[in-house]
Amino acid sequence: MDEPLIAIVGAGVMGTGISTLVVGQGLPVVLVDIDQGVLDRAATAVRHGLRHGQLIGALPPGTAPGRLRTTLRLQDVADADVVIEAVTEAPDRKADVLAAVSALVSPGTPVISNTSGIPIDEMAAWVKDPGSLIGTHFMNPAYLIPMVEVIRGPRTTDPTVQRVLSTLTRIGRRPVVVRDAPGFVTSRLLHPMINDAARVVSEGTATAEDVDTLMQGCLGHPTGPLRTADLIGIDNLVDALEELHARTGDERCRPSELLLEKVRRGELGRKSGRGFYSYSEAQS
């Protein structure tokens, strides 16, 4: 794996950010989606992201970007050394994609899910080789955040873990391996907190701005929970909360009415130009 080929399925917020990271580190990417418009926007967003990464100094200077190939054909993942699934947080969709991917790749190829919180062992039932399935939890924007939570399922094999850790190191990430559970570590902690922040706003205790300012100024949160909600995408946040609620029974994970209403109104955060905050075109 001198120059591994990384395939990414799903060209939304995360697929785009992970693609930016990988090509920015000089490696080629095959990026798959079911929607040509999404792929075209993703190619533009990757170019924008590469400039952003350079500006912040988050990508290695003087590295020629790897080639980004976008495609509607899932079969194009067949030659990949690693496949990352980053489709919508819906178990039935992930089941279809993971089953198809695991049938296409050569034996032993790590199949990674970037799920926010669906247990890896639950997804292992959908793939040909449960030993090759593993979770990585890149955060958005993946090319700016150097740390990645890695989720080892009970059936994930040592070689799979080793190959994924070396790939992550190759693309400049610092992995932390955790065990399998709904929401793992980061979503288990972050998602109910964001949900509570939305409740605090709808109860009239404080504005979104003041909630974020307090969390930044008093508790050292880098952006505040509601700016984070906008960065994640409120549709994805609600999906992830629902999956967490279904598996933990924790009422704090039941999506709050304000989040549901924002999704109904199409106020999804940065990706739609408005969420808890408004974003000019220049920002998204």
């Binding site: 924008h48 400039r51 952003h52 500006l55 912040i56 700016l144 880098p222 920002q283």
Partner: protein, 97 residues
């Protein structure tokens, strides 16, 4: 806010550029910065906002920020941004003739 387009023939007035950039930062951060204030260490700007500043300058002054110019130090203060715009416009004017 749509600032008037400047052309290479009408050289930029640095004070006006400083003014426009200050207004943009003030609108986006709800705080009016001093021209010399480091927007990043004072917490007014973060990594997401930095890219917004790049796009704002490019769209407003019809310049392209690329290569070694694309680094945070050029965007730390309103003054450093105005200086970058001035230099890029002078370069563009130079290649036009």
């Amino acid at each position: 806010m749509t600032p008037e387009q400047h052309t290479a023939k009408a050289p930029l007035d640095t004070d006006a550029v400083i003014d426009q950039i200050t207004r943009f930062v003030a609108e986006e951060t709800r705080t009016a910065p001093d021209a010399d204030q480091d927007l990043f260490t004072t917490g007014l700007a973060n990594s997401m906002f930095a890219m917004q500043l790049v796009v704002f300058l490019e769209q407003t002054y019809a310049v392209t920020v690329a290569g070694p110019d694309l680094q945070l130090s050029n965007f730390r203060t309103v003054k450093s941004m105005a200086a970058l715009v001035g230099r890029l416009q002078a370069q563009a004017a130079g290649t036009d003739v």
